[in-house]
Subunit: 164 residues, 2 copies
DNA sequence: TTAAAGTTGACTATTTTGCTGGGTTAAGTA
DNA sequence: TACTTAACCCAGCAAAATAGTCAACTTTAA
């Protein structure tokens, strides 16, 4: 279990999704605007999230992403695991330096600790995070911000189409 | 609080140190041999650990490193914090993208989670890890292995000196 | 004094991050 | 049917982090 900015992005995006996907699918473009994450990077992350069956992609107009399950059944550990490479057998597995399994056992020590953190994060769901008060206030604020951005975007598009 | 291989190396090395430093200071060379971590990388890590007052360096022959405090007073969170860069103000702090503090509040959500993990790891000490049975068995096995390596090392040195 | 050990800094290679930009494909809508 | 909107899928790239190398220097026990 690693904890990096990549995982943070994924959790943030999933939380945004959980907050907005009740009514209709949410486009990555919207999430990108609200959370100021690049669209292409979001695509990469959601590609993994989709393959891990955390979200469902719906194509075409009116499409977007929805959670594959209810928010109370999606935990943080699974989100992070979905976007992170498994650290698979870093030096072990093969013969490499590790003579037989000796050095690998050292890793197991860390893994034990790592497992405990994983268990801890498994106990936290998106639903629990949504309940937090400040998450709601921030999300609402971001909605308002994003509307302005989309407004400007539409305006720009309009001007562009007039110049053609 | 990030969790990467860097932090894992540091925790592993500190645990090795805690296990061996009762009698006399432990050299990085020994830790490197036992834990198969490159000596130079260990030097970098211990440079930070020393500046964070986690360990004491003792120079000269018979020198090495010892814990700066007893094993029951050194927790995992502090070890990781010592070797990791603080993620200081990634995008926030300055004006950058974050309009005023809006986006920064999103980070606070994650930081809350991050703080909880930190608190959790603060509750785990080196002494607690040492008590675990399999840690002791592995450590002993590594001692035996390392002796063989040192044996071979001495043998090679001897041959080298004979060729001069 | 001298050699063993720690200490420091600069430098390199590799991997991971985060991102850009180019497409293709599926599904609604005019 | 044509067009649009979105997901999906690549290939590559720059910056950062990771992991390690090398060389010089300092301290101190023997």
């Amino acid at each position: 279990m690693r904890l990096t900015t990549k995982g943070r992005y994924a959790v943030t995006a999933m939380l945004d999704l959980a907050f907005h996907s009740d009514v209709k699918p949410v486009t990555l473009t919207d999430i990108a605007a609200r959370q100021t994450i690049s669209l292409s990077y979001l695509e990469q992350l959601f590609s993994r999230l989709r393959r891990a069956n955390m979200v469902k992609g719906i194509r075409g107009p009116g499409g977007g992403y929805t959670l594959a399950d209810t928010a109370d059944k999606i935990n943080i550990a699974d989100i992070i695991a979905a976007v992170d490479e498994p650290i698979d057998a870093t030096k072990c597995g093969g013969e490499a330096n590790c003579q037989k399994d000796q050095s690998c056992l050292t890793h197991e020590l860390w893994m034990g600790l790592s497992d405990q953190i994983r268990d801890y994060l498994k106990g936290i769901t998106l639903a629990q995070l949504l309940e937090k008060h400040h998450v709601q206030t921030v999300a609402k604020r971001q909605d308002q911000e994003a509307e302005q951005v989309i407004e400007i975007h539409r305006h720009t598009e309009l001007l562009a189409s007039m110049n053609e």
